[in-house]
Amino acid sequence: MAKEQYVSLYKQYSKTIKKHCSELLNKFRDEAFESLCNSDFYVHSEEKNAINLQPAYDSDFGLNFNRVDINADPYKIFRCDVPNINSYLCFVVNDKYYQNTDQKVKLPNGVVVSSLNTISETNPDLVIPYLFKNMDWKNNPTQAFNVTFAQDGLFIYVPKNTEMEMPIQVVNFMYGNSDIMAVSHNVIVLEEGAKLKLLVCDHTSNDSQYLANRVTEIFVGKNASYEHYKVENTHNKMTNISNVLVNQGDNSKLLTNLITLHNGYTQNNIKIDINGENSETVVCGLAIGDKQQTINNYTLIDHARPKSNSQQMFKYILDDQSKGTFTGKILVQKQSQKTVAFQTCRTILLSKDAHIKAKPQLEIYADDVKCSHGNTIGQLDDTAMFYLRSRGISEKEAKLLLMYAFVHDVLENITVEALKDRVKMLVEKRLRGDLSKCSGCIICK
């Protein structure tokens, strides 16, 4: 649908949308809609070579304004197969949160894992200090689109000094026989000294055209530690537009690791506001693309306080006609002395038609900082290749070993061992050219 159709869609259905949602979720809906009307659908309009996402929205997608339940229990029909992972599992099917009623594991006292829509109705005081606080929909049409249409999502709250040993695993599951769009909004809050690891798995049920626009607002309090893993393992007709918007406090630790094994069109916007001193931030990602896949990563690390450390590392392996972009901006504000900020993006192009556009941007207003960026684009190292082959390893196997070595350091940035093993296995399968879907995925059965 063209922009005008989304505009008239909202005008026609805004009452219905609001009827099913909490006051909090509706609060800025009309305002965001105004922004959307005034925008031109670009993903980040402040950028000169903004990516036009309109083609992604083109299909005649269905949206579930009336909040109709799917006629199945996602916990029964789908197993995201990470063996030996002991996690607290929850599902967002399309854009609707499904509470796990058969949860064997108990959450620590005070930890909340809930539907955002439900909790903002039953316990608004818990949500109000955070909801929409990291957003900038006036300048970002995908965020404006999200606030306009989002009716639900995941809400996680970890209270002060509570350490969640067990990771929470959320499966974003696209389900339905027609072309479907899911617009969801997640809020994750870690109070002072809290600890959480979140694993986000993106999956699809069948070969319909899907589009997801998901915003995740994350608040990492003073001395808190948060790890965010996303593994995209879907199909070529899936468009995934994701905004991960983080606010970090003093002495906090953040790790985000976004892994695209298989998808059609991926747009990751990662914005980290470092609003605390002595905080540590690691932002990394791995993209493996072939056929006509596109994987775009846009990062903005805003060092607003002194003495913090950020590191970014992105790796791309692109084959066939696949495309990737990396736009990584480091902003060091005037008061943020003693900042350390590094960024690397490395790409291997396996075919002549594969395409990468890498663009580092450093904006530094403080004078006592250490910052660097590096980009490399190339093919596999011929001398290493020959060395391996001279030991009897076939060309194919040598290529695989080198590709695997290339992505190795991104995978080492996974601290959940069971997940690391699983992702390593999936990456190896993917690099071998096998379908990389989880064995639990319905489409493979």
Binding site: L388, S390, R391, G392, I393, L401, A405
Partner: protein, 250 residues
């Protein structure tokens, strides 16, 4: 085992080898010496199939097979091994994975079952001792951060793992102190038997005190210009290469 006849090879259109003839039989050790730029390393590279070099003429038979037709991996599987002058660092590929892949490809080629994890690790342990290779090195990435001496020991360790018929040691002594040289040479000698053979490429007599050759060949301007017993190396050590050059020019 190995028969080289009238071998010519180019790199970037420049002829480096200009008609090499050499026969190596099982149980023999051949030393190849010669001044810088004479083509010693090129000969080693061409034999193992480095794609940077182009063979323009001649033939190489390895156990009667046309070696030049084989891919580098098949040459290795057939029993050829090069100890690199400059071993390559490969960050992210662990020594264990590298060697397991190599050993199992060799076994597959010989119609053997792949080794189990415990069998393989046992083999690694045994072979490491031959070159006194630190256990920690085996857990690291291939050659990454290894010292010069460790890299060369690692080459001989790989040789021990793959048990080649013909090993070519390309300036394995360069960059080694006396202790490391002795360890490396001892490793090579331990692996020596009546069924295999070695070609030792070196500048100096020093290595040949430890690895005693049956034949010494002098390579000059892409040809073997002189062949004699081990005493030739001593003459070279004493007199240098000038007298050879003079002899040729005359």
């Amino acid at each position: 085992m190995l028969i080289i006849r009238d071998l010519h090879a180019n790199i970037n259109g420049k002829e480096i080898l200009r008609g090499i003839n050499l026969t190596v039989n099982a149980g023999e050790i051949h030393a190849i010496m010669g001044p810088n730029g004479s083509g010693k390393s090129t000969l080693a590279s061409v034999l193992v199939g480095n794609p940077a070099f182009e063979v323009t003429q001649g033939e190489v038979l390895f156990y009667g097979k046309n070696l030049l037709e084989l891919s580098p991996e098949d040459r290795s599987r057939a029993g050829l091994f090069l100890s690199f002058q400059y071993p390559v660092e490969i960050p992210g590929v662990s020594m264990v994975n590298f060697m397991r892949a190599a050993v199992n490809e060799h076994r597959k080629y010989n119609n053997q079952e792949p080794l189990s994890a415990s069998e393989f690790l046992k083999m690694m342990r045994e072979k490491k001792e031959i070159v006194e290779l630190d256990s920690k090195l085996a857990n690291r990435s291939v050659n990454e951060g290894f010292s010069g001496g460790e890299k060369k020991r690692n080459e001989i360790f790989q040789m021990a793992m793959l048990n080649p018929k013909l090993s070519i040691l390309d300036e394995t002594d360069s960059g080694l102190d006396i202790d490391a040289l002795r360890i490396v040479a001892n490793g090579v000698n331990k692996l020596k038997n009546d069924d295999n053979a070695s070609i030792v490429i070196t500048h100096y007599q020093r290595l040949l005190d430890y690895i005693v050759p049956d034949f010494v060949h002098i390579l000059y301007k892409g040809r073997i210009v002189k062949t004699a017993g081990k005493e030739l190396a001593l003459v070279l050590e004493e007199k240098g290469y000038d007298w050879i050059k003079q002899e040729i020019e005359e």
